[in-house]
Symmetry: C2
Amino acid sequence: MNSNVRIVLVRPRNPLNIGAAARAMANFGFSDLVVVKPYPPVWRETVSAVGAEKLVLAAKAVRTLEEAVDDRHLVFGTTTTRRRKLERPLVRLPELPAELRRRRGASRIALVFGPEKTGLSNRHLRQCHCLLTVPTSDDCPSMNLGQAVATCCYELSRGRKDFGRAKAPDAGKLPTSGEIRRLVTNAMEVFDATGYLDFLPAEEREFKLRRMLLGWGLKRHDLALLHGALRFVLKGTKK
Amino acid sequence: MNSNVRIVLVRPRNPLNIGAAARAMANFGFSDLVVVKPYPPVWRETVSAVGAEKLVLAAKAVRTLEEAVDDRHLVFGTTTTRRRKLERPLVRLPELPAELRRRRGASRIALVFGPEKTGLSNRHLRQCHCLLTVPTSDDCPSMNLGQAVATCCYELSRGRKDFGRAKAPDAGKLPTSGEIRRLVTNAMEVFDATGYLDFLPAEEREFKLRRMLLGWGLKRHDLALLHGALRFVLKGTKK
């Protein structure tokens, strides 16, 4: 996803929501925020944009949606789709990345979010190429603004391979086949000494044991613990 | 995804966040919310759970994480993975549905979220089968609690086919091939009358015109408009 993504908030009422949108954008590597006609006391009162302060300072306020999307190739207006006649193509959020691949020429896109209470008006939606909807339950269709922005930003960066990778697990920490084999041998000795499962033929007993140990996904530090437990059992039988 | 999903919040500080988590859960069709050791003034001060009031009233408060996950088959502890030694398998959120399909026996799962400032402690993470991380940017890795819950619930319900489907578009609204053909014929007459594009052979002119009209994805109501425009042009040439 190389799209140059702009998030546009139309007349948000709650200053916390501008900060929440900014933080979600920063979480997922986006930085282009435009706010249409912010209420003056709301604008730049964004106290909760933890880690996204720079993004909020760089955000632009404009007077109209036209200005906010003027340089965009493709504009998505978010909506719950419940009450309106759909006059243009509807994209469900999980299908957005595929839709963007299909329209390869559209390198600069905007996702537009309406005011908290009303959502985008039909007048606003008419300036969008497509409608975008986050699939939600009919029982509670309308999302919180900051959460809707977070969900959309997540979907757009969902395919990124460079986010959230832990370092490769330390190969030294997995037991080798030989180490597992020695554990099986040790356990079989204890089983023999204690008569545990002695109604099974030795071969089958060993097979079941090995299958179980291989299935556990043991780590190396588990081995010492298991060897110790077996030693403990063996000591008990010798008393 | 038939999993019975519980969302567990450990000691959230901000009452708005309990409401935000509840609303996101309701948006995506989940209802089982448990809060571990809530601060007494925080608990049930959840004013912002628009549409999720029932869910909040049904939420349980418990004293320990153990109680919260006691009946679960599989417990995921959310973390940013940045600062900690990973002592158990790490699942990236986009891979969570595949992980659940792989562990088919785990029908009751819990996603556990830590306090806003600190996240889950190692003591809490040790009670989880797996770590779960939302892949985020290194520049701003830590998500807002409500937004993290929303993103996880979105991913879990992302494959649902019954959410957010608009009614099938009205087939009567798409033009038939015959209607497009009549539009092409009409336009060709106007082109002839006005001498528009007359440096091209008629056949190629018609081919280009048809390709363009088919590519536009016209709706039926566009046809009347275009026929009207063509009539208008024709009238102009006859003056």
